[in-house]
């Protein structure tokens, strides 16, 4: 598989101007003008922190910037999907149009393009659907998109993607059960596809195990906490199949599933 062009990040964080924070069910779609930022490749991420009141909240957090996949690039704007689950995402969700946002990136290794003739299956869980949107934009052809959510409010996130088939844990929308049920059916029909996955660790591990047993190529975009995003802190270690650790930020976040023994439990700095 050949890679998409990997963007080089400007060597300093830069201030972006928030253009909007739009509710999308249980999520917010954060949009920020980034006219001078390099075009990211799908799967790359930015480290984000608000310019004002980043820190000094409950328990003196947030302190570190937060890693966010770039969900979409459109007309000089970068889009990010966030869910208010902790002090960092809470503060980001408070942003309003006109506010300033620190950004560093694009960072990390993104997805590789599928080999000619191979069908791409994109599978995402929860906020992990974000990098699949820019991937779908970039592939420029019909890809199968499978997404899983907790409930109907979260399933609104599927609107980020075109033609997505939805699964929910409670069956409120689409298939009742994990989205990996949908993947199993797809791979049953077309075992020659290549899988692109992003989501919570348990979902990624299910994708990894299924693809390994069927000898299907899979690229997993890992979600881990990280302090820096550019290889300095060694905090985002992910165990390698052949021993030692990968750094999710510079060796990933997109990792060839075959390189991993298993997808580790969440190893974030921000439980």
């Amino acid at each position: 598989m050949s890679g998409f062009a990997r963007a080089t990040a400007p060597f300093a964080r830069r201030l972006l101007r928030v253009t909007g924070v739009d509710p999308l069910g249980a999520y917010e779609l954060l949009r920020a003008a980034d006219p001078h930022g390099p075009e990211p490749s799908p799967g790359q991420f930015l480290m984000l922190a608000t310019a004002e009141r980043w820190g000094g909240g409950v328990d003196g957090r947030p302190y570190l910037p937060r890693a966010f996949s770039i969900a979409r690039r459109r007309a000089g704007e970068s889009h990010f999907l966030l869910e208010d689950v902790g002090p960092g995402t809470h503060r980001l969700a408070e942003l309003r149009a006109g506010d300033a946002l620190w950004a560093l990136g694009p960072l990390g290794r993104g997805f590789s393009a599928p080999a000619a003739g191979k069908r791409a299956i994109l599978i995402g869980g929860g906020a992990g659907i974000a990098p699949l949107a820019i991937l779908q934009d970039t592939l420029g052809r019909e890809a199968t998109v499978l997404v899983g959510f907790r409930d109907a409010a979260h399933a609104r996130g599927a609107e980020l993607l075109r033609g997505a088939r939805v699964a929910t844990d409670d069956g409120a929308i689409g298939h009742r059960g994990p989205c990996t049920d949908l993947l199993a059916a797809e791979l049953g029909r077309d075992p020659d596809a290549v899988v692109y996955a992003c989501g919570p660790p348990a979902m990624l591990e299910a994708v990894r195990a299924m693809c390994a047993s069927l000898s299907v190529d899979a690229q997993l975009a890992l979600e881990t906490g990280m302090a820096c995003g550019f290889g300095a802190c060694f905090g985002c270690a992910v165990p390698r199949l052949d021993g030692g650790y990968l750094r999710a930020c510079v060796d990933g976040p997109v990792i060839d599933a075959a390189a991993l023994e298993r997808v580790p439990e969440a190893v974030g700095a921000h439980p």
């Binding site: 060597f11 302190y63 910037p65 300095a232 802190c233 270690a237 700095a269």
Partner: protein, 336 residues
Amino acid sequence: MSAADGATRAPGSGRARADERAAPGAREGAGTVEFCGLRLAHRVINGSGTFDVVAARAVFGAALDERFPFAAYVSKTITLEPRAGNPPPRLWEAAQGLINSIGLPNKGLEAYMDEDVPALASLTTEVPAGPAAGTSRVAVPLVTNVMGSTAEELVELVDACHERAEISAVELNVSCPNVKTGLDIGADPVLLEHVVRATRERTSKPLVVKLTPNAADVPACARAAQAGGADAVSLINTLRAMALTPPARGERRHPWLGGGTGGLSGPALRTVALAQVAAVAESVSVPVIGMGGVENTAHARDLIDAGAALVAVGTENFRDPAAAARIARDLAETGL
């Protein structure tokens, strides 16, 4: 290298000397800072283990070398054998700080010398102050940080550094437990003086001792390092710290970090660092590299006014990789 004499001195007298003797515009040395015989572009360096030049080059491209932020580059800790590091989780976000339990992953001495030293040898940076500001570049000395659990291991590491012309100075990480006592080598003044003396005899390159803040009497440890022949001391390293797994009904809580405990860094310990730097600067005559929670020029200036010759930026590099360049420029504008 000057032998230690244990004499005390007035605060600030051990500062690196700004090179004010050069006539304006006369030569490219104007505006530089002298430190242990090395000529530095400014007073701001990195804390060991807080910036990986090799990884950062792949991320930021040529801009990193063009606008290199540090006046000297301190490597991450190198050990004799390769280390994978601690099992995750390795990070915990604390109140205005970070607890890390990274475990000193590194490729080991041999691979470091073969692969990394050549890649780190030709760094240069701009002089931010004086007549040469912005127009001349000065070499960025490579400081190799090493850790061993015995004097013999440290000697082997220092010997290898001594052999390499690309390495300008050696920093000893003495925050390693002694296998017999379990105490950090750097927390025991007698043992510390012994290992510093053993390594001092092996090299004429400047020898910096990175003091541990997890000691009963840090100034006593600094004096021991000086007595053993250290050319400079650096502090503070991270403070031992801990976080527990989130509460869950019916489950016994355990340490969150894979390594059990970790080290706290960042603004949370800035005032502790200032107190320790001030106390050490009053206790030794060798220059002091001060660090701990530096995010901006005011924080750097506090450490300098407390007696630090150089200031290191650590955790702030994670939030902004160009932070040190910003601080160095602002410091230079204030004449420091």
